[in-house]
């Protein structure tokens, strides 16, 4: 194929240049806010206020982070979010495997009917109030379980997992194991689970990010301050602008206080996004696979 740039016609040259320009603009548009937030969070409050910070940090300072880590509310929220993340994602993965595996085996009678019942819940649900009432009746309100049990499994992710099992684990394997006297449960723990590692990596990312980022469940089910996840605390600080004056007490003048408040917001955003960003590079290479498996059977 004719890929050398100089061999191409003038029209093609202009076209490929336009493509590069388009993609570079798109890339910069996505990248700039991310860089700005990180730079601002490491800058001097006054520099942030006056617009000196445009791309890189100006007069590097950690004042924003000091305010974040001194704040007991943010720290409690951070800890709670971690607890919900670990327990929630672990339960998500176990439930997904328990559900996807039987539905992937053709030896399991009625599997298509059961699968249809699960798929139906993707397109239709009882809605907010009826779900709330169930959670309420079960006595989950204001307990950590309200953050974990109602979202124990996502049908969409389960279908992805099931499709992966059907397509990548040969049927002969099951027959061979059966001949050797392996029970369906043993087969799940010894053979299916290790073979599903790539898809489990993607699902861990999906579930983990969803757990870490969710705030609406907490708004509905959690009233106790001590159990609030980080997202709820962030909503108070970033969206409702309820910054505790003691958090920025170092500031003397009103303008300095406004600067520190703005800085605190940028630092909170960075702190809250770090766990996801640490996870991201490890799983990024699997992402395409996850999307493609999901697309095979929407």
């Amino acid at each position: 194929m004719n890929t050398k740039f100089k061999n191409q016609s003038l029209g093609d040259k202009i076209f490929i240049i336009l493509v590069y320009v388009f993609l570079s603009i798109a890339g910069l548009a996505v990248l700039y806010p991310l860089i700005y937030i990180v730079s601002a969070s490491f800058s001097d409050p006054q520099a942030v206020m006056t617009g000196e910070v445009v791309l890189w940090p100006v007069r590097v300072s950690l004042k924003g982070y000091q305010a974040v880590f001194k704040n007991p509310k943010i720290m409690t929220g951070f800890l709670n979010s971690f607890i919900y993340l670990f327990l929630g994602t672990a339960l998500n993965l176990v439930m997904t495997m328990l559900c996807a595996y039987p539905l992937s085996r053709k030896e399991f009678k009625h599997r298509n009917k059961i699968a249809a019942l699960f798929v139906f819940t993707m397109y239709f649900s009882g809605g907010l109030v009826p779900t709330y009432m169930v959670v309420n009746k079960l006595g989950l309100i204001d307990t950590i379980w309200a953050m974990i049990i109602p979202s124990a499994m996502s049908t969409y992710n389960m279908i992805i997992c099931r499709t992966y099992m059907i397509n990548s684990i040969p049927d002969e394997m099951y027959e061979a194991a059966q001949v050797d006297g392996c029970s369906p449960f043993r087969y799940l723990t010894r053979i299916v689970t290790p073979l599903c590692k790539p898809i489990l990596a993607v699902l861990t990312l999906y579930y983990g990010v969803a757990k870490w980022n969710s705030y609406f469940d907490a708004m509905l089910y959690i009233k106790k301050q001590a159990l609030q996840p980080l997202t709820i605390i962030m909503r108070e600080i970033l969206i409702l602008n309820q910054v505790d004056p003691t958090m920025v007490s170092d500031a003397k003048a009103a303008s300095e206080m406004a600067g520190l408040t703005a800085l605190l917001k940028y630092s909170t955003i960075v702190v809250a996004s770090v766990p996801v960003l640490i996870l991201y590079p490890f799983v990024q290479k699997h992402l395409v696979k996850g999307v493609m498996v999901g697309a095979v059977k929407g």
């Binding site: 328990l98 109030v129 779900t131 499994m153 962030m234 395409v288």
Partner: protein, 310 residues
Amino acid sequence: MKTKTAVMKPNKKNKIKSANWQFWLIIALPCIYAFVFAYIPMGGILMAFQDYSIKGGIFGSDWVGLKHFTRFLTTTSSVTIIKNTLILGVYTLIVNFPIPVLLAIGVNEIRSVKYKKFIQMITYAPYFISAVVLVGMMMSMMDLRTGIINVLLQKMGVDPINFFGDVKLFRHLYVWSGVWQTAGYSAIIYIAALAGVSPELKEAAVVDGATRLKRIIHVDLPAIIPTIVIMLIFNCGSIVNIGIDKVLLMQNSMNANVSEVISTFVYKVGVVNADFGFSTAAGLFQSVVSFILLVAVNQISKKVTETSLW
């Protein structure tokens, strides 16, 4: 081995039965979960036809027929809400749908692997940012006094813009921040589909003297049409299903006229005002309309393009 299989053969039927029983045991927990958290709430939909009182419960409350639905569909304030939902949904579809396709085609044209990887890595990243952080970023960067955008505008001698206080800007902010967050991720599926286009077809097109643009239109695009159609069906189904997370965060007293959509309305009426029947009715309306839309678009697509979800 041989003796073992010989022994097992007569028992094969029993074996299958016991296997089936074990499968049921394995899937028991997910089934209970789906029953309790998906199917029992579906029964709760009956509340939409009742003046529900906590004391009476579903079985002891008065039946009111379609009262809540008539109220929802005739009150001017709710009609505005339905209109807001539709406008926001259609605007999202029109902007959010084609951009990932363009992005994927662009990425596919690039020969430098490093640059390709770089663009992909950057554009996927915002997908993993939470709604709270996204809206928080917007509010901080667009703040009337301290936000970088207004600071820069002032330096250029332009009056600062009150982004979150201006009713007219709400929809643009909502939709374009959505593009920023999801375009890269949504493009993955098209990039993968484009990677599957056979190189022979492209070479043949080159031999025939097709320009790059012509190759895209006549070779690449037809190859990804099925993927585009499937994604379009999904997107059409969610026109009325505006997720509550971002809208609720972006809402304030100044933009409530255009930012109130069905999902936020359901939340406020149901949880804040505790008017359970009315809230459930509004929620049911949204579920049913989006389900009908999905099925309808799917049927149309089946007829026209022979591509469908089921």
